[in-house]
Symmetry: C2
Subunit: 397 residues, 2 copies
């Protein structure tokens, strides 16, 4: 009944790389709470990250340990490559209780395994590793040395295997379909929620050959002046003529994402929006052109920056980030970003979402691409017109 | 351009209650990172909780402070009731950086406001308040006293206003529609992902009168033996004859949820499933019958327990929890649970999801209801048949 997304050998290779990095950093035990890192090392896949759960990697063991709520142990059995000896469910009275904390269970497990005097790294700044988890661990393992292992696994995830790239390509096909649905359905008088409903249908239904998974971020759809607030979702208001709308979405396949953002205008765009659209596309094109192994992330951003500054436009925030496997609330990997100061050197099969979010205060714009670094350049995942989209207004026709 | 979900008076009342509780606990400053608590106190609503953001409540100020990424300040302006003086954006170089942490910005803000020697409470076990946030705060505010404020606001949220109840009723209408779509579309040979796509369409499109918001949890749809792993999502496999499927979903309106779970079988259910369905419904009916103000949560669970034990069935995990306003990854409020030892006394306008998740090892079942406590009983939100659903198999007809 295993639902194997990757062969066991791929998980073993990930474990080998993780343990190699742990050894180099002098870490005996790594406690992983980021759901994407848990999935990466074990295959575990369920919507259970709303309770405390984690994976423990020990330098001297081939398999990691899964620790989670008893109710979710069967999900570990169905989705992970771990044997029964490496699945450690905790009782339900630990769940959201003021009396007990799951990290007490973890401490007891480490004591049982005689690992409580070791050098233990935790993901200090990862989602779902709360301050309380840390405090409990420090209190109950007084003889351990607690270190920071934030992003240790994320930096291994940054270079994808060919199988992972295959999954992202499948996700990209879904992102094309979903964006096309958005363009086909948005129109003056149509409710935002009805367009997003169609996007979501396309994201989950996927293609005839394969279904879609849930993206780590819901479709973002700010309209009009709200395009200057890029992380707004949607309302049940209707589209107005001449107003811009940002559509940011991702296709997702087996937790692998291919994000895509476009901006559309129903009816005639303002001259300002038209000009901005041309500058953004020129900037993205220039930045993508410079991508290849050996180039640094900040060099890519610099090319973008110089291109738009020729047109008198400035932008402070980063223009992209590493992405791939993930869970809510983010499809970004929290490693490399395209921004000044980021000297990450591009390597083949690194995958990024290049998304220069423009904010003019009263209006905003997004035109993005997801891509992988190839041997000598880049492969853009989605095949979708890279433009400001002008929706013919049928009421005016 | 404010998108006001509640009148300012309602936010002020929430602030008054929060500050009263802070005063009673000897807390000067409360730092709120749970996105639902942030929304509750300010109205702030955007998919930006993947970066560090928070709300600061000071005993001596009427309005809280919003702190977030510069890119999201416009979202605060659009969605919150705060004036410009209470919106504090941090620069983009704090985002997912190894060099800087947003909590440094927060410490500087508290020093500027001469609040760095106060008693400051943080939500130690809330989503998105990472260990790193805590460590940074403790390091940079050596003269402050840091206390635990976990669930302080959640316990205020547990009793809803009539306006909040109105939103949950609207969410319940959406949950009925979405569940009906699931029942209408699932059939032998149909892909799970296509059924979930229809569910998601219904959740977001909502009704003709109002649109739906994104639920904090995606539809859960374990099938066959995987029904014993209740937090699995879906695949692109097709439904098989005689196999059970659990459908857990919620309608959501302006971040307020009304969850609903049902179990269906395509074709003939096994005798075991039929019997289990009858027992679960009898147990839920009995537990709902005993709900009224003055009863404790553990008394409700005890009625359930005694009812199913008459049929020789036992269950260890809790059978429900307080719910309402929320963001991913959970619609539960992390306060009261229906379980042994929970002595929370029911009050009018508390709202719960009663969901006894059954797991027989080889198969599982969920039949749930969301409800509010009324003056003398309970109001079940969704009007949907409370039964194991048997889907007539058209191929057999």
């Amino acid at each position: 009944m295993r639902m194997s997304v990757f062969p066991t050998e791929e998980f073993q290779m990930r474990m080998t790389r993780t343990k190699k990095k742990m050894a180099a950093m002098g870490i005996d035990i790594l406690i992983v709470t980021d759901p994407a890192n848990m999935n990466y090392l074990t295959g575990y896949d369920a919507w259970s990250f709303y309770v405390h759960q984690l994976v423990i990697v020990m330098l001297d063991e081939d398999q990691p340990y899964w620790v989670g709520r008893a109710m979710d142990a069967n999900a570990a059995r169905h989705t992970s490559w771990l044997d029964e000896d490496h699945i450690y469910p905790y009782a339900d009275h630990y769940v959201q209780s003021a009396l007990r904390h799951p990290m007490d269970f973890v401490s007891d497990l480490l004591k049982d395994k005689k690992k409580d005097k070791k050098i233990i790294a935790v993901e200090l700044d990862a989602y779902y590793f709360t301050a309380k988890c840390y405090i409990k661990l420090v209190q109950s393992l007084p003889n351990a040395t607690i270190r920071d292992g934030t992003n240790l696994v994320n930096w291994i995830r940054i270079v994808k295997s060919d199988r992972e790239i295959g999954y992202i390509r499948k996700a990209a096909k879904i992102s094309e379909k979903a964006m096309q649905v958005a363009f086909d359905t948005l129109n003056e008088g149509v409710r935002e929620c009805d367009v997003v409903a169609g996007i979501s249908y396309a994201q989950i239904s996927g293609t005839e050959e394969y279904g879609g998974d849930y993206p780590s971020i819901v479709p973002l759809l700010p309209t009009g002046k709200k395009t200057s607030a890029c992380h707004l979702t949607w309302t049940d208001e209707t589209f107005k003529q001449g107003e811009p709308v940002i559509i940011e979405l991702a296709g997702c396949y087996k937790r692998y994402h291919s994000p895509l953002a476009r901006t559309a205008v129903v009816g005639m765009p303002s001259e300002e929006m038209q000009n901005l659209g041309e500058v953004v596309v020129e900037g993205v094109n220039a930045a993508l052109d410079v991508v290849k192994p050996g180039v640094t992330c900040e060099e890519v951003e610099m090319v973008w920056r110089k291109t738009i500054e020729k047109h008198g436009i400035k932008k402070e925030s980063r223009i992209g980030y590493s992405m791939g496997l993930n869970y809510p609330p983010d499809w970004g990997e929290h490693t490399a970003s395209f921004r000044s100061g980021d000297q990450t050197i591009l390597e083949p099969n690194m995958t990024f979402h290049m998304i220069p979010t423009m904010d003019l205060g009263h209006v905003g714009m997004e035109i993005s691409e997801s891509f992988r670094v190839t041997e000598n350049g880049c492969e853009v995942f989605a095949d979708f017109p890279r433009d400001l989209y002008v929706k013919p207004n049928i009421r005016l026709a």
